[in-house]
């Protein structure tokens, strides 16, 4: 983003420099341009408001991204407090209670001493355990219990009670604890309450000494704080700890900058020198060095090669250095070395190396805060990107408005411009006059727009759901770099549009402008005459004589002339057809949807132009041939963009594209539809004339309300496009949001058909859950039909069909026989060789431990449709999500994330559908229980339980009974249907956020109608006088203007609805191939609200100018010239 800010600022600097050079060359043009601004203050203010909208939308997009980023970062910072780095036992994923001697803290002190890198090293014993408030019988099944060394809390921030007092851990007695505010809410506890802490089934009684605020050492989730000694006693690990927190020098935010150096030093002290020396000797061997060098040469990404180079330099040193130890203790480098050995065809050596590398690391170092902040950045990048993509519709609409404003401004000053040209001003000087004036407006507009965008983003985030649903609280914060990008980009876009508009309006016939008559008839003759004149000047001047007088002006003329020639040639159509064919071909070769779509569109436009050109050669009248040419081109474009995706892929083969294709589709379809309507407006007028003849006295009002906008093809077309583009997006969002609700109708395909799920910590897993249920007192045993169990570990996987052999993170889910036999998750893809339907595939996995089912989140996508959070994760090579359901089974290698066990080869025979992924779309692989044990080399307990209830059983009663019965195990139960509904409500809230954001674009469309209405009142003043003279009542005049706007607004709305529904239908058809039962349905209530809002505001905007028109005094208006 900083690079963008600098880039845009530089472009803006160059633009300003060019403008200043031109301004210094002819100051009078600046004065002419600028003097227009104060002449009509109200108009200037309106223009500035109109111009500001692109900056507003950019600022709003970036602002929302900033706010999301800051909010997530703040949540992370609040959760971690001053802790930047954490040192833990070697493999914390499986057993949280892996303790080590507390003396390690002193070693860390020594390693970090003297460099001002850290301001605190805190020993901690932390576990999760059930806690019961005896006074009100409230329980928290898995509260974090944190025992802190009272002598080492300095540097980790102060603890403050909810009433503002600062307290110390050292003040706590052996049976006293502090609880944080979150824990207080869960337990309804207060100072003095006696709580039961139940770790490992033994009850310890403690007293709440005080309630401290969330944040810093108190964390942001329910937490209990006690002295380290007390915790060691309760957990049964005297003299041991399981965590060392390190606070870098600086505050909660800035300390993270020292993390890299702190970790480098920690690796040295936490590495086993003997193991490191052994690895050093091994890696120095010839074959290993060759393997490393070979891998570095073939690895496409720069980072592994760079790390291997550093390692190689250390290996050259001859003896194991500190730097080598630090490098080899880094799990990332160890992983790369293992890959290098594997790539060399020695998988056994790779596994052996990984096992040794793990031994080098005595403890695991987690760069917690850096990781948390990077995750926050990844999510917010995705959010910003999504907003910018959707916002680009509004930005395009904003630019159309700028164009419209300047064209209307030029129309108002046509006579003045004609006179200026008549007295000797050149066309480019007219352009300059406009650009100077526009630049002033643009600077003001970009500034105001940026501020407005920031305010809009602050309001928009109100739609972000409550913190308990999304995991963070919204905090409003905008980065200065975002303001810079919004201001500079808004300004650049506005200046570019102003310059283009100025060029367009400068192309006028002087006589027609002065006399105020239609110049379309004169244009062709004038153009021919100009061309003859230019040719004559060239002949008489000669190129040799022209060379010494080369100036900016001559350059400008030459460029304009060259562009003119290219434009005229392109208008013959064939160049576009040829270019389109080439671009399409390249797109097909690269499987690029963008290339194919853009190339195809160019060809379609080319065909339209060619039709017009051929008709011209055949002597067909101008109006007719243009109408036919445009209609053919527009219809072809609509057919091309509206065709079902399956047909597109049948014709052009596999294509890949991102969400930006949605923007291109919208622009092309709306552009084509608007051209089709505007160039066939006479049909609408005729139909209106035939049907409106019986409307009594308002018949003439209705007729003119249709006829006027249809006659002003350019401005009506622009406004139609604005409305249609925005409505198009809103409709697509509304329809796609609606399809999400399919999950509610197919609940079993999201939940697997289990109404309650429960989980316990790994160490408290309940192996005989069925039997254990018999002893649950409050549970009606007949309520539970069956119980299935699963377990999950973090692993790494790679698709053996991929070019790159990199291992990527994946979650491996071990399922017991009941789960595999009873789950109702459907598969979107499967290999028929293993079963004819989803059930048979699950049964196959149940029987064969070498088989697996992947989730849909592990598949590549052809078109990214939603929020894309980039990062390391497993993605299979094929099939694409969009591919047909039948696949051929493929092999995937999986290993545990530490990499010190041999990988396991699995055959993927099916992929679960998108509904199964609704709650968690991260890559996962489901296998038979036991496979995971082989992966990690020990038994992994199944700690998640899935309960299918009998008909009529109350899921809440069952969940409550389970939590109560297994309190000592820390069991947490979830009602799955409630979880799905909550998820969908979050989804709906976020879609509302997008819809509201898009409504900003509607403001632009409505503003355009207002601008046009104001202009129409001025332009038609005399006609209004005549109307009044022949008997129009004031109310009829007003109604006429309001109806005119309504005609444009309603037409735009209808186009948007039609095109949005068409593309949504295509998307739903595509999705429907993967998710059976997904149906296209238009949410009429949403559509009704959108239509009513849009139409209502368009009427409101027009009422003022319409009222002014109705009040025009006929006698005065008739004098008006």
């Amino acid at each position: 983003m900083i690079a963008l800010a600098i880039g845009f600022a530089s472009i803006l600097g160059v633009v300003c420099l060019v403008v200043v050079i031109f301004a210094l060359r002819n100051g009078v043009l600046v004065r002419i341009g600028v003097r227009n601004i104060p002449r009509r203050a109200t108009q200037s203010v309106l223009i500035t408001l109109g111009l500001m909208l692109s900056a507003t939308i950019i600022a709003a997009s970036l602002g929302v991204g900033d706010i999301v980023n800051y909010s997530i970062e703040r949540a992370a910072i609040q959760a971690l407090g001053h802790t930047d780095v954490v040192v833990r036992a070697r493999d914390p994923r499986l057993l949280a209670s892996d303790y080590f001697p507390a003396e390690r803290v002193q070693e860390l002190d020594r390693a970090l001493a003297g460099k001002q890198l850290v301001d605190g090293v805190l020993a901690e014993a932390r576990e999760r355990a059930p806690v019961v408030n005896r006074r009100v019988t409230r329980t928290e099944p898995r509260m974090a219990i944190s025992g802190l060394d009272p002598a080492r809390t300095a540097g980790f921030g102060s603890l403050r009670t909810t009433d503002g007092r600062t307290v110390q851990i050292a003040e706590l007695g052996p049976d006293e604890v502090y609880i944080n505010a979150s824990a207080q809410r869960e337990l309804e506890a207060r100072s003095g309450d006696v709580l039961d802490v139940v770790p490992g089934g033994l009850t310890h009684r403690v007293t709440v000494r005080g309630v401290v605020r969330d944040g810093s050492l108190a964390g942001s989730q329910p937490r209990m704080l006690m002295t380290l000694d007390a915790a060691q006693l309760i957990f049964g690990h005297p003299g041991q700890i399981n965590r060392i927190n390190i606070s870098n020098t600086g505050d909660e935010w800035s300390g993270v900058r020292h993390s890299a150096e702190v970790i480098r030093r920690l690796r040295l002290v936490l590495a086993d020198p003997v193991a490191a020396a052994s690895l050093y000797a091994e890696l120095r061997s010839g074959p290993n060095r060759a393997a490393l060098a070979g891998y570095a040469a073939t690895e496409p990404s720069a980072r592994p090669a760079s790390l291997l180079k550093q390692l190689s330099d250390e290996l050259d040193a001859g003896t194991p250095t500190e730097a080598f130890t630090s490098l080899i203790a880094d799990p990332e480098i160890a992983g790369i070395v293992a890959l290098a050995l594997e790539s060399d065809g020695r998988p056994e050596d790779a596994v052996a190396f990984s096992a040794q590398a793990v031994r080098v690391r005595l403890l695991t170092i987690d760069d917690l805060k850096t990781t948390a902040l990077a995750n926050a950045e990844r999510v917010s990048d995705g959010v910003t990107r999504l907003f910018l993509v959707f916002g680009s519709f509004s930005i395009i609409v904003g630019l159309l408005l700028i164009f419209l404003i300047f064209v209307l401004l030029a129309a108002a000053r046509r006579t003045e411009m004609g006179v200026t040209r008549a007295i000797g001003a050149r066309r480019r000087q007219l352009v300059q006059i406009y650009v100077y004036e526009g630049l002033i407006y643009a600077v003001g507009a970009a500034a105001v727009g940026t501020v407005a965008g920031v305010l809009a983003s602050m309001l928009l985030v109100e739609f972000i759901p409550a913190s308990d649903q999304i995991g963070f609280t919204v905090a409003r914060h905008i980065e200065p770099r975002s303001l810079t990008v919004a201001f500079t980009l808004g300004l650049i876009l506005t200046i570019a549009t102003v310059a283009f508009s100025a060029y367009r309006v400068s192309r006028m016939n002087v006589v027609a402008a002065i006399r105020g008559i239609d110049e379309s008839a004169r244009r062709t003759r004038g153009r021919q005459a100009r061309r003859r004149g230019v040719d004559a000047r060239r002949r008489s001047a000669g190129w040799l004589r022209a060379v010494p007088s080369v100036s900016l002006a001559a350059l400008f003329d030459a460029m304009a002339s060259g562009l003119g020639f290219a434009f005229r040639t392109a208008l013959q159509g064939w160049p576009l057809i040829v270019t389109g064919a080439i671009v399409t071909g390249r797109g097909m070769a690269g499987d690029s949807a963008f290339g194919v779509r853009v190339g195809g569109s160019l060809a379609m436009i080319g065909v339209g132009l060619l039709v017009a050109y051929v008709l011209k050669r055949a002597g067909v009248a101008y109006t007719k041939r243009v109408r036919l040419g445009v209609s053919v081109g527009a219809l072809l474009l609509l057919a091309f963009w509206g065709m079902p995706f399956s047909l597109l892929f049948d014709i052009f083969g596999e294509l890949n594209g991102g969400i930006e294709m949605f923007v291109v589709a919208g622009v092309m379809m709306v552009g084509a539809a608007v051209m089709l309507v505007m160039f066939n407006a006479q049909v609408l007028v005729t139909v209106a004339g035939l049907t409106l003849g019986r409307a009594g006295r308002i018949t003439p009002v209705l007729k003119t309300a249709v006829a006027y906008p249809m006659a002003a093809r350019f401005r009506t077309g622009l406004t139609l496009a604005m409305f249609a583009l925005i409505i198009f997006t809103l409709i697509v969002i509304a329809i796609l949001t609606n399809t999400n609700q399919a999950a509610l109708e197919k609940m079993e395909r999201v939940t697997g058909g289990y109404q309650v799920t429960a989980s316990v910590p790994l160490e408290h897993a309940i192996p005989e859950i069925e039997a254990a249920l018999d002893d649950v007192a409050r549970l009606q045993r007949t309520d539970i039909e069956l119980v299935a169990a699963t377990g999950r570990i973090g692993g790494l996987a790679r698709d053996l069909r991929a070019d790159s052999s990199a291992w990527q993170p994946i979650s491996v889910k071990a399922a017991d026989g009941t789960y595999l036999a009873t789950n109702q998750l459907e598969l979107s893809h499967f290999d028929p060789a293993y079963g004819a339907n989803s059930r048979e595939i699950w049964d196959a996995v149940s029987k064969d431990p070498s088989l697996a089912v992947l989730n849909t989140g592990s598949l590549p996508v052809r078109f990214q449709q939603g929020l894309e959070v980039r990062g390391r994760r497993f993605v299979a090579v094929a099939p694409l999500k969009e591919d047909p359901a039948q696949i051929t089974a493929f092999a995937v290698q999986v290993r545990d994330s530490a990499g010190n066990r041999p990988p396991v080869m699995l055959t993927v025979i099916g992929v679960t559908d998108e509904l199964a992924d609704l709650l968690d779309g991260s890559p996962s692989l489901t296998v038979r229980a036991g496979v995971v044990d082989a992966l990690v080399g020990r038994a992994v307990p199944l700690a998640q339980y899935h309960f299918r209830l009998t008909a009529g059983a109350d899921a809440k009663d069952v969940a409550d009974a389970l939590e109560t019965a297994f309190l000592r195990k820390g069991l947490q139960a979830t009602i799955t249907e409630r979880e799905v509904r909550e998820f969908l409500s979050v989804n709906t809230s976020l879609n509302r956020l997008f819809q509201t954001f898009m409504a900003l674009g509607l403001v632009v469309g409505v503003a355009a109608l207002g601008v046009i209405s104001f202009r129409a009142v001025v332009e038609r003043r005399q006609a209004i006088g005549m109307m009044k003279a022949i008997g129009y009542r004031p109310g009829m005049i007003m109604l006429g203007f309001v109806l005119e706007s309504s005609v444009v607004a309603v037409l735009g709305i209808l186009l948007g609805i039609a095109l949005g529904s068409l593309i949504s239908w295509n998307i739903v058809q595509e999705l429907g191939d993967r998710v059976e039962g997904l149906r296209f349905a238009i949410p009429w209530l949403d559509v009704g609200v959108i239509v009513a809002f849009t139409w209502g505001f368009s009427i409101l905007t027009t009422i003022w100018p319409a009222r002014q028109a109705s009040k025009i005094y006929a006698a005065e208006a008739l004098r008006y010239e």
Binding site: K703, A707, K1028, A1029, I1030, R1033, A1114
Partner: protein
Amino acid sequence: MAEPMIVASGVHKYYRSSAARVHALNRVSLVVQPGEIVAVMGPSGCGKTTLLNCLSGLDSIDEGDVVIEGQSLAALNDNELSDYRARRMGFVFQTFNLLPVLSAVENVELPLLLTGTPGGKARIAARDRLALVGLSDREGHLPGELSVGQRQRVAVARSLVNDPAIVWADEPTGNLDSENERDVMALVSRLNRERAQTFVIVTHSLEVGGRAHRIIRMRDGAIEDDGIVK
């Protein structure tokens, strides 16, 4: 004797400018009989157009009274005045003031539609008036596709379509060449003869004045001379 078509008594009209009050009409009184063609002439700025606007109810007056067909305009509100104009008056302007987005026949039928005449009936009447002014073959053309003389004839047809008692014309030939001017005035004379309609025409043209029954000459907002031509 028949009731006068127009009776103006002591009509006074002034405009406020930033510096002073400008008397556009200075206690003007006149009577126009049914079927008369009255030309109002005089130098620029003498108040001719203001007089026409005030007599036709397009502009308000500060003093005096205007009575048309026995109805005082002062007694009518804006909507009633609009309705009255739609039923009983026709207007022709120097710049034609046809709606550019409607065809010739649609422009002509407008006044009838405003009075609630059914569309079919209005269309027949509009075609009839276009035939009267010799433009039957141009009814589907937009104003921009007609010559200036033809546009003015369409404007005349529009002013007659509702069979008005009075046609007000403000410089109807101001934008026409002499041939077109003769044609239009011949048409006015014929219509006046055949339909006994009253015409009040503001003009600089001697040709127009020559076809009027009566010429009112104005100077400085007052009637200088009110003479019968024929």
